[in-house]
Symmetry: D2
Subunit: 204 residues, 4 copies
């Protein structure tokens, strides 16, 4: 097993002689579970209703959060939603009746917040997935889904984490979005895998 | 709370009257944990040693697995590794001493397997993250890390899942890679967040 | 003005004392014009007819050619075509009645040729834009559009070029595709800029 | 040959009975040449000097201009420059001594202008490739390279074009950047194709 012989370090981690992949997995699952429990069911419901009623759904996120959001966007395409990812080749102009869903742990990523405001000017609806309700994105968006995981801001009020800054937010956001996918898969497709695979890309 | 009125369906799911986001989160965490427990520590160790000894590390995966791998690739950059993602603008020619790490649930994605063979021709090392040890990718790569989650193949021997085909593999792969990141963050940077943020992109 | 003091070199270039941006521009325009004159009008026509009759149009190219093809794909979206770029987040499964258009100077890029064959298995039509009619892509695709510019293969029968390998093919391919866009803009939209800008992305 | 039967239209185009690909190619080459002649040699020289003296070079552009800039970024990698494209997986934090090169026809793309300002805050140098010297990007950047082609703004003072809004700027920008590549290929590599191909991606 891979052994990490760490020097003494400050902080709340028990001084284990060996830190290995099983220890790290356990930490992550435990930290993530704590964050997931704190997500508001009514915010989740509001988010799903926006997805269900939108004409077309646009997505954007920077960095690792953006990759997490892309996995969600791809699944919605396979589930039959009309989706686009901002910045990709075929993304058209947003219109009234469309929805923009953004993700930003800090809720302050400049470009992301700018897109939310721009979408509003076009009479589109907006959802922000963020760790901070009082952030710009959390305040400006029509619906905020708060995932209270530690972000790169490393703020005092954030959930404590032994991980890299931002990781816990990204992990909890990913699993939350996967839970939304699971509900939609049951609701819209009645768990019919064939219907889903019929849209799954084959040229890749 | 969002209520899914599902028709009767076959299968092992309890016939709950209400399926909501908390139920879905629990299912996913439980399914993922079962898969994560079955990952071989020695394979994880072999993977980390390849990462540590490689000159440069190239990554590739198609579809959602590819986005998961990009989150890992970005973290390794922030941790100080010399990394590239195949198909992006500045990715150069692979050389002897480099490592190609691919991800493929089925282990049979044509392009992905082709890249592994091409890397070998260039005397580069290869790692395949896959659900199936006996797949092409699992057999051809120098190191296979088996994440035994359900894939889009929906095979009888795969872990049972209530989710979309492929989701469980992708979730377990993501959390496994996050555990690798956590170990490297402790090992290489001594949990120093400042060192990490000093490389984190600001133009984004 | 920027002056390049070059050492003596072999080859057909006149030994100019100064090589500057105006000289380079002239060389490129001249080289490109020679290649463009050799494109077959009937191949261009066949290509446009495939675009016009396809249900949906998928695109793929590797490297710089791929970026050139993306500029074309984006324009077709703005002109009202139903387009996708292989490998992007929302690209679905190709179907009978769809068209795959690929670009490959050499016509031998492994992944690109593999996609053409895969599209055929799905009863989709295919177009290959290539410098070499007798290449794999040129032979396998339903329609080949030959742009006889110098490629990275640097073959004896290729048009002579003072540029990097591949550049001349990519430049001629770009201007050819822009000419196709111009014709479609006149034909389909009657040069109506407003109709075009109505689809142009605003979130970007 | 493909024939476009157009209705009468206003404007300076001769009323040709047939508009075909050769006509379109000629129009584009002619329009592009007129724009290229108006690029200032001293601006081109200043741009090249910024490229040569920068520690690392970051690039960004939205839409089709962004794809054009990516072709340039890829070539600079092959020529041995240390380059990154903003938004891609492995792009790190910009530092003093680095250069940010952006492209924006209008010079007013919000995100692009924001990045230029952010780069300045980090004591990085900036270059803007734009059609409008008096635009935000043209004014804020340390060096402006003005490519006076028609943009999506369709302004009265812009070069007249029969093409889609923005096309002429993008074509002239592409050929200008290719001319810069050609000079650097002669200057830095002495036209040695082998040195260049040694860095050309093979996994793609």
């Amino acid at each position: 097993m891979f052994r990490l012989q760490l020097q003494e370090e400050p902080g709340p981690v028990d001084n284990l002689e060996e830190r290995n992949i099983a220890w790290a997995v356990d930490q992550i699952v435990e930290e993530t579970r704590r964050v997931l429990e704190r997500i508001s069911p009514s915010e989740a419901e509001a988010f799903i209703q926006e997805l269900e009623t939108a004409n077309r759904i646009f997505f954007f996120g920077a960095g690792r959060s953006g990759f997490v959001l892309r996995t969600f966007c791809m699944r919605l395409m396979q589930l039959g939603f009309n989706v686009f990812y901002v910045g990709e080749t075929i993304t058209p102009r947003i219109q009234p009746g469309d929805l923009l869903t953004v993700i930003s742990g800090s809720g302050e990523t400049g470009h992301t917040c700018g897109l939310v405001k721009q979408a509003h000017q076009r009479q589109a609806r907006t959802v922000a997935i963020t760790a901070h309700r009082n952030s710009t994105a959390g305040q400006v968006a029509d619906v905020a889904v708060v995932i209270p995981g530690a972000t790169k801001l490393v703020l005092a009020q954030e959930e404590d984490s032994h991980q890299c800054p931002g990781s816990l937010f990204e992990q909890a956001a990913f699993l939350f979005l996967e839970a939304v996918v699971m509900l939609l898969f049951h609701l819209k497709l009645g768990r019919d895998r064939e219907k889903m695979l019929a849209r799954h890309a084959d040229l890749e």
